[in-house]
Amino acid sequence: MTPIRIVRKAFQVFFLAATVSLTVKLLAGVRAPTVEYYCPMGGVVSLWGLVRKQQFICALSEMNLSLALALFAGVLLTKKSFCSWVCPLGTIFEGFSWTRSKVMRREVLRVPDKADAVLKYVKYAVLVAIFLLSYRASELVFRGYDPFYTLFTGGKGHGLIPTVSLVVLGVVLVGTFVFEMAWCRYLCPLGAVMDPLSKLGLLKVKRNGPACSDCGACDRACLQRIPVSRLGKVTRVDCTNCLACVSRCKTPGAMDVGV
């Protein structure tokens, strides 16, 4: 394993552990902020309320806004690296892929290309629905259906819907276990927010064509199904700069990152 991969795994474990510690505190009855307090998606949802009424909606606060602004800056600098280095759900879903392929020795299922091309737009519809419903109600109406919130509040979060929240979480977990990164690819509203900014992302994976042996190892390594071996620069919005392609490449000088 390359040093950069080890560091990425360490980041993922750190952020997942920090998130789980908030869950444990909540379940233990300790007075502390829940995961909602640190969720950058909350900052995104709060933006329209701040513009229209100069006030936050529901339980959102300056922390959500500040982290959302930091996230935007991060996407402009390093594309959607948040997804593959920070996001606790992303870490769990990567774990699912690893479990399926390495432990269960089962082929990772991928949605057929045609369906995949259509389903990728569902997350934008989810995002629009969240915006419209949240602003209309001045409430975080999505939190009852948010698998991140349900999972990391241990099913005890304020605003969860009995049974429904757990069913949605279960469907997302099973669906993403069966189909590689299904939540991230098709449903994650924060991913939908990041997509347009990611197109402008400064630091991206680059392939040095003349040095490349065309072995295709980079394509096979990519969890986002990006055909890296056919690209010069990876400008695709779904690239999360996980650097799996760069780490997997055995040809010296063929893969790197750059502006």
Binding site: T2, I4, V7, R8, F11, Y37, P40, L50, K53, Q54, Q55, F56, I57, C58, A59, L60, S61, E62, M63, L65, S66, L67, L69, A70, L71, A73, G74, L77, T78, S81, F82, W85, V86, S138, E139, L203, N241, L243, V246, S247, C249, M255, D256, V257, G258
Partner: protein, 124 residues
Amino acid sequence: MTWKVWIIPVVIVALSFAGLLGAKQISLPTLTYMFDKEFRGETATAKLTVDGVRCYGTANALREHIASLPGLVSMVAYGGRHRVDLQYDPRRLMPEQITESIERPVSTPQGPVAFFKVVSVDVN
């Protein structure tokens, strides 16, 4: 692979700190409300930390809870900080009355319940 790959973890660490520390530099309200739009006299401000105010819903509940208090001019609530700034007419209202009104129990089917508790008051 060159040193440039290390830019990514450096950016993530820097922006994580910036995001966490930046929240302290921003101060935006959860709820802003004028009780008396016509009032033109001199006002005093009570800055209260209120246990129970944590979001738009609870701030709005507090607004309704104290709305009948005579002499209140405006209210600005900061849910994340549990802070409520109340402007009032000092000739008609005392800070102690405000605290008492906030902590006044509400009748529920289970009996009277106090939803809010004033942790600190700063008057200027």
